[in-house]
């Protein structure tokens, strides 16, 4: 919004371009933050259970000893 004011009317085109780039960067940071927030959450137990089940199923299938 403040950006709108800054680039309105007779601002130089390169200033406008700079403002847009700054805005792009801010949005880029926000996108990465959203993504990283999820990626940094501890992995829910469901997922670990699932991998354990895969293990068990594999052991059962191959008849391998559980070590």
């Amino acid at each position: 919004m403040q950006w709108d004011n800054a680039v309105s009317n007779e601002e130089k085109p390169n200033e406008k371009a700079r403002a847009i780039r700054a805005r792009q960067r801010a949005i880029g940071r926000e996108l990465r933050r959203m993504y990283d927030d999820v990626a940094q959450e501890p992995v829910p137990d469901d997922f670990l259970d699932l991998l354990r089940k895969i293990d068990d199923a594999e052991d059962a299938r191959t008849g391998k000893k559980v070590s």
Binding site: I20, R23, I27, L31, M34, Y35, L51, I54
Partner: protein, 218 residues
Amino acid sequence: MVGSSPMRQHVESGHKDDGDGDFKSELLALIPFLRAFARSLTGNQEGADDLAQETLVKAWQSRATFIPGTNLKAWLFTILRNQFYSDRRRAWRQAPWDQDAAERIPGGGEDQIFSAQLSDTARALRVLSDEQREALILVGAGGFSYEDAAAICKCAVGTVKSRVARARKALIEILDGDDTLEGVQRPAEGDAAREIMAQLDRLAPPGTGDTGGKRRPK
């Protein structure tokens, strides 16, 4: 099995054991990123985690087709993306009369509630087309090269580049224009539609509504 070629079987299973163990620990390490990508596709946590788990199972079942030394993360993301679209296509087939509802699956009604708690950027992301959103997330947040993103999205590198550029431009317009966010910000329209459907359901005598029971949220 036991009789035919014990030697060969022994060697094979030994090899498989090592490879599978490595594969599984790499899977484990990549779960956080699968969850993050899934969240950005579905826009809600529960649907995203279901999707990420489906992806793990699919990946495990298809592990023989993974070429060691290639990008496992990109391979997993490809599976996740395929799964996302095939789940949604299935949802469409199951509910052809209510495409809007199908589009919210996975996630159902929660999507709307959840979106009220999201940041502006997160909400603006929901307004983008699927193609633009996934390209922007992969390149802009996931750190994938345009080439890897193109492989994941099964399109040309130039296509990814232009989708990312258009997505960035659209996000600015949405965020700074404000109008476009209205629909996402306030779930008024969706609620109105659901309310109308609920009223129709109530009006219909029991047993006559063929679109009734299955779709109606509990």
